[in-house]
């Protein structure tokens, strides 16, 4: 075998050996368990913190009168947390600090109820953002938990 081919083969051999060592030490744990990624990543993503509780019935355990009013009104399809922000922590440890009691401006209700031709009339009743009882706060007349009370 000519000397130059021998040298070339040696270089190749060295290269492959280094690759093998690198692959051995640098492939993370659980790589390829399900596919071309770290299998542990699934568990890490699944372990993220939950912030919303699932259903309104969870709030009803303690706020039974408000929830009963709520469930009999037009807003019953809305999740409490749409207006009160996330409630998981509050359910675990109920204090006033970890739940939002919303500051009601007109925009608070108008984000759903402002007149907009794209809003389907049969799914949401709409009012003129400026003209409907100008400059008054919505909850003076409508109960947020039961709009027609």
């Amino acid at each position: 075998m000519p000397i130059q081919v021998k040298r070339l083969l040696m270089v190749f051999g060295l290269f492959i050996a280094i690759m093998a060592v690198l692959i051995y030490f640098l492939t993370p744990e659980s790589w390829g368990e399900f596919g071309h990624y770290r299998g542990l990543a699934l568990k890490e993503i699944a372990d993220k913190e939950v912030k919303h509780v699932d259903v309104n019935e969870t709030c009803a355990m303690c706020h039974d009168s408000i929830s009963a009013t709520f469930a009999s009104g037009e807003h019953k399809s809305i999740n409490c947390q749409n207006c009160h922000n996330v409630g998981y922590k509050h359910v675990e440890d109920p204090t006033k600090e970890n739940i939002v009691k919303p500051e009601v401006t007109r925009d608070f209700c108008l984000r759903c109820h402002a007149k907009n031709p794209a809003r389907p009339e049969n799914y949401i009743k709409q009012v003129d953002a400026i003209e409907h009882n100008k400059d008054k706060v919505c909850i003076n007349c409508h109960n947020p938990h039961k709009p027609w009370e």
Binding site: A41, A46, E49, V50, A118
Partner: protein, 254 residues
């Protein structure tokens, strides 16, 4: 210089062309012609998620976008979204206007006078959890992948933040998280699904315009939705195998 003529008899010709036609026919039996589906679920059992959005029910309140930001620590600045809502307005002289003030969270105001509007509607957008996602294919380190449940996820401890997938996603559903320096995207609230809870955007929707479920189960809500409605996906020409189905979507939507 003459052209060499071969004497082909009619019989020879018919036999040869018959063999070729027959061969092609039998070859096609080996791999029969399939109807064209946007997605075909992979082998296996267990859940394989798909999402449906009922455009007609969307009231554009962006409760979904708000809930998502709260649930998943998405920065509140208006350039970072895992999901958002757009309002399309087609005017009488065929202009298409798309607005999405802070992803819809700041509330929509229609600037086109009502008499000029030909058509207007909301389109909620989010990750399509594509079956052949371009975003997972381009990841140089294997940090972006499709889970066995059919969700396109990011391994944030392994991501190097190169942003290649952000470029690759044809729907614009990824962003680089400013604090973590890695890519962040919709996981369909994987951390909730695995605990048996609904994703935050689904439970926030006041009109139940959002649906998700197991595409393998032919009786699930999502399978019914796809069957009963005339559903389309966004940018079908890209053949991404998108699994976010919209019913009666206008073709102007991109």
């Amino acid at each position: 210089m003459g052209i060499k003529k071969e004497n082909v008899t009619r019989r020879d010709f018919l036999v040869k062309s018959g063999t070729i036609a027959g061969g092609v026919f039998f070859a096609s039996l080996l791999s029969p012609f399939k109807g064209v589906y946007a997605t075909k679920e992979p082998e296996g059992d267990g859940v394989w998620y798909g999402i449906g959005i009922d455009i007609e029910k969307c009231i554009g309140c962006a409760s979904c976008a708000r809930a998502c930001k709260n649930e998943n620590d998405v920065p509140k600045e208006p350039f970072f979204f895992r999901n958002w809502v757009e309002q399309y307005t087609i005017t009488n002289n065929e202009e298409i206007k798309v607005i999405s003030p802070n992803g819809g969270i700041d509330g929509f105001t229609q600037t086109v006078p009502e008499k000029d509007i030909y058509k207007t509607f909301f389109v909620p957008k989010m990750c399509n959890h594509c079956e052949k996602s371009p975003c997972t294919q381009v990841c140089p380190v294997g940090a972006s992948f499709e889970s066995p449940e059919g969700l396109a996820l990011v391994d944030q401890n392994y991501c190097i933040g190169c942003g290649y997938c952000v470029q690759a996603c044809p729907y614009g559903c990824r962003y680089i998280h400013p604090d973590k320096g890695v890519v962040d995207k919709c996981t369909l609230c994987y951390h909730r699904l695995t605990k048996g809870l609904d994703p935050a955007c689904m439970l926030a929707c006041p009109t139940r315009a959002r649906i998700y479920g197991n595409l393998r189960d032919k009786d699930s809500e999502i399978s019914k939705f796809i069957r009963d409605n005339n559903c389309v996906v966004l940018k079908p020409q890209l053949n991404t195998g998108a699994k976010l189905y919209y019913n009666s979507l206008n073709q102007e939507v991109r």
